[in-house]
Symmetry: C2
Subunit: 330 residues, 2 copies
């Protein structure tokens, strides 16, 4: 039922100008003297026909595009990630870029790069694991000016935003030992996507426990009440738990209560994220808060530098701080 979409030729005919003039006017190409009257006539014709310049075609001619592509990753998006994406979107909008989140998350390497490149973005943000050297070549060939890797491990090929998960474990373990804990446990989630972050947080806990001579039990735990409840004997044998995050801490505190154990009397508990639920738990949850508020603006600044200067060497972008919020559970 749709007629063929109007073309710039249709606009040119209606406005009585050349197709090149239409292109100059609608794509704001510099270096051409076109009268205001002609510009107005072209714009009016485009409006009347409902003509929309084509991002692709425009990029082909001008070599510029304002799209910043971020690949959807196979990690469970928590409230923090969602909030950061929203802020990144706003920050990019303010600077004249548009954020597009690209699906098809199975893709990685060269096939991923080819798919992303078809949109001719000016910049790409993607999981470090998806960015091979060859993939990067494809992106560069397609005119992508800036690539930043995301993830738990820095990328060896491009600048990375890599959260310092070990630092979280260090903070939590240090606090528990300071509070007098002598037998620690640390939860590592078994969920895909969470496990890797759990391993890295555990590494931080291990480092501190070893340095301070405190025994540590690693607990691989699915997010299920029955699984946590089945470990009642283990919880009885420790006096401090780093619960990976606030949701696991809530799970743990529920089964500790059911088993007749008190928090912090019998077991001190520390979470991570400072979700709203942390302050609503009874006892209120001690947790590691990640301040990511500087992340979106820092990320956009780095993007603009890379766009201006071309691809940078790998370095780590670390615009965040972790602080301990001490409440009642520890």
């Amino acid at each position: 039922m749709n007629a063929k979409p109007p073309t710039s030729l249709d606009v040119a005919r209606l406005a009585g100008v050349s197709q090149a003039t239409v292109s100059y006017v609608l794509n704001d190409r510099p270096g051409m003297r076109i009268s205001d009257e002609t510009r107005a006539r072209v714009r009016e014709a485009a409006d009347r026909l409902g003509y929309v310049p084509h991002a692709g075609a425009r990029t082909l001619r001008t070599g510029r595009s304002g799209l910043v592509l971020i690949s959807m990753e196979d990690i469970p998006y928590g409230p923090l990630a969602v909030g950061m994406l929203e802020e990144l979107d706003r920050e990019l909008s303010r600077r004249g870029y548009t954020l597009v989140q690209y699906g098809a998350r199975r893709l990685r390497g060269v096939p991923a790069a080819r798919a992303w490149a078809e949109l001719r973005p000016v910049a790409v943000l993607a999981g470090a694991g998806k960015l091979s050297r060859q993939a990067l070549e494809v992106l560069r060939s397609a005119g992508v000016k800036a690539v930043i890797a995301l993830g738990n491990q820095p990328s060896p090929v491009v600048p990375s935003v890599a959260l310092d998960h070990e630092g979280i474990g260090v903070l939590a373990a240090g606090h528990l030992i300071d509070r007098g804990c002598r037998t620690l446990a640390a939860i590592v989630p078994t969920e895909v996507g969470l496990r890797e972050m759990g391993e890295r947080r555990l590494a931080g806990v291990q480092r501190v426990a070893r340095a301070r001579g405190v025994p540590l039990t690693r607990v691989d735990l699915p997010f299920r009440e029955e699984s946590a409840a089945a470990l009642a004997d283990l919880w009885r044998a420790v006096d401090g738990v780093f619960a990976y995050n606030d949701e696991y801490a809530m799970l743990l505190m529920a089964v500790l209560g059911d088993a007749g154990l008190t928090v912090p009397g019998d077991v001190r508990v520390v979470g991570c994220d400072d979700l709203p639920l942390a302050a609503l738990l009874r006892p209120r949850l001690t947790t590691v808060r990640l301040d990511l508020s500087a992340m979106p603006s820092t990320l956009v600044q780095r993007l603009e530098e890379l766009i201006a200067e071309g691809q940078g060497t790998p370095y780590r972008i670390d615009p965040w701080t972790a602080t301990l919020v001490v409440r009642e559970s520890s």
Copy 2:
């Protein structure tokens, strides 16, 4: 530092064929007889140069694109919305489409449609409030085949996925009154984006309360412990609360406990969403569970119908069911 991206002309020269042949081969255009040997030569040349066909240019020629654009909306994305988006992405991938989430969320109406249209998507999913009749014309002119509205109210111009929030209120209120509640309260969040959904859930509660002769107090509440705690006298005066969602229910149960009120003895509480935290609360939370599992596949089916048949008349797509999960809090 990047050289100019390779063009199809570069590929044609290297392969010793015409630019048209390159286009036919790389864009899988039907109706041309090209030998396998030539096809292989073109593909090899494209690989060697790192040439990526341009989504935009390809769309211009073939009139087809596999992009399904969903606009990021100014609603707080809860875990349900994020999970659904991930499933939608997978479902679209299976059928050969690619989901792109488009930022710049301030845009609405014609400016939004123009921006989306530049990517030449085959389908657009966007908040009903963003889709004016004129916006729809812009999308149609740009070759968008299917448009589906999302939101709390059905769109008057295109098919809509509109969740039945009133139905949630009806379920919760009916259950509380069945359990013997004689003075109800319903929480309406004051947060932008949640308020509208809260109003519609309230409307369902009101309907049932009126029909069954039970007085109802509307409580406009920010998500803050102090605000909920300040209403202790109000909570003392009611015996059943529909708390809007599970997170508000957790907030409410924390302050009820602090005020010495028991759940469900003094006050019965019902949440909504059946988040993991619902079963972890003590007492365990009764909640309305939304089964959205059929949503992604239904949405993709409708999209494919609309793509095949052209824009449809407005109708309501309602592939979800709400059920009450009765636990200990009611």
